[in-house]
Symmetry: C2
Subunit: 205 residues, 2 copies
């Protein structure tokens, strides 16, 4: 298809598509004559993925390229693709502004132990969660253990559902793809549903 | 205290504090002589709150002012303060890029009904969650009902824990304060814990 058809089917202006190509977010189409470049269904799929990562995932261009590079590796390593998505999304979700306090890290480790999680001390989620405890304390809000455990139980349930959704996929490439999209879109999905639930519970109160 | 002590106790440079005052994020101190301005414990508390909202909540300056205005209203309206926090944080979490599809809105309504939530059609969370479904479909990832229901159950559990944490607070002002901080910090807390849980479940697989 030519760029105008790609634009129509993706819902993105041609100028935006050209910008994506220039920035390395989308491979070039095949030049079949001086003024005609041919794009394929695979370009359309890539464009939809890029759009989801940029607009809904709120990833930076550099982070999208990092995720795409991991997905495009000839020997696709699911764990590596997954960790790239985690790192990329994490930067868009929360600014890691420094070392969290030792106290807060210890509290998150205790929460993780109670949840039965095996994890590494370098896990980016551990740093973020500890940072939140520091920020809450700074704003004079104390998160007690029951409250943290409720968040951990919820996180455990969605992570288990995410992994279960990979079960029926035909191959490793599909699994890596769904894992990456799920990592990026799971946060806004949680945030959206949490707002509906908050309104419900606040009104009942 | 003078600004250097406020800087030391808050961990923020004096220049940043002056910038916050100029931008309306922090009330001016009391000028007690030509070159000496006095700040109080209440300035320190406000500074910690602003910092949490900006750095960990990733709110824009305009959104922080919106939240602070709601908290400072003479007749504090908890629902209003809460909705301001919801709106402000939501803009920082996900760009609302247009109308979600009717199909996706209908799916989120069905999820909400199954979760037993009373909600309004204008709820911002409903729009965000529907947008996520659209983005996932665009990236050729189908979120089935079981998967969405798992996210809804998790959102319900954390919202209930958030509201339960308000129970023991002494007055309405404290409740509004905790509600606002909780709204802003709950998302990165969920995101962090979800990453630890994902790593645990992915490694077990």
């Amino acid at each position: 298809m030519i760029i105008t058809e790609l634009a129509e089917r993706s819902g993105l202006p041609s100028a935006t598509i050209k910008y994506y190509v220039r920035d390395g977010l989308l491979p070039m189409g095949e030049r079949i004559s001086g003024k005609r470049t041919e794009y394929t269904e695979s370009h359309l799929r890539r464009l939809r993925l890029v759009r989801a990562l940029l607009e809904v995932g709120k990833l930076s261009t550099a982070s999208v390229i990092e995720v795409l590079t991991a997905l495009d590796a000839p020997e696709l390593d699911i764990t590596y693709a997954f960790e790239s998505a985690q790192r990329a999304l994490t930067r868009s979700v929360v600014a890691v502004t420094g070392e969290p306090s030792a106290d807060s890290l210890a509290r998150i480790d205790a929460v993780s132990d109670r949840a039965g999680w095996a994890y590494s001390s370098g896990n980016i989620g551990r740093v973020i969660a500890a940072q939140v405890i520091d920020a809450a304390e700074g704003a004079e809000v104390h998160l007690d253990d029951d409250h943290l455990d409720a968040y951990a139980a919820a996180a455990n349930a969605v992570a288990a559902a995410d992994i279960a959704a990979l079960r029926d996929l035909p191959d490793r490439n599909s699994a890596a793809r769904v894992m990456v999209i799920g990592t990026v879109l799971g946060d806004p999905l949680s945030a959206g549903l949490r707002r509906i639930a908050q309104t419900h519970h606040a009104n009942r109160k």
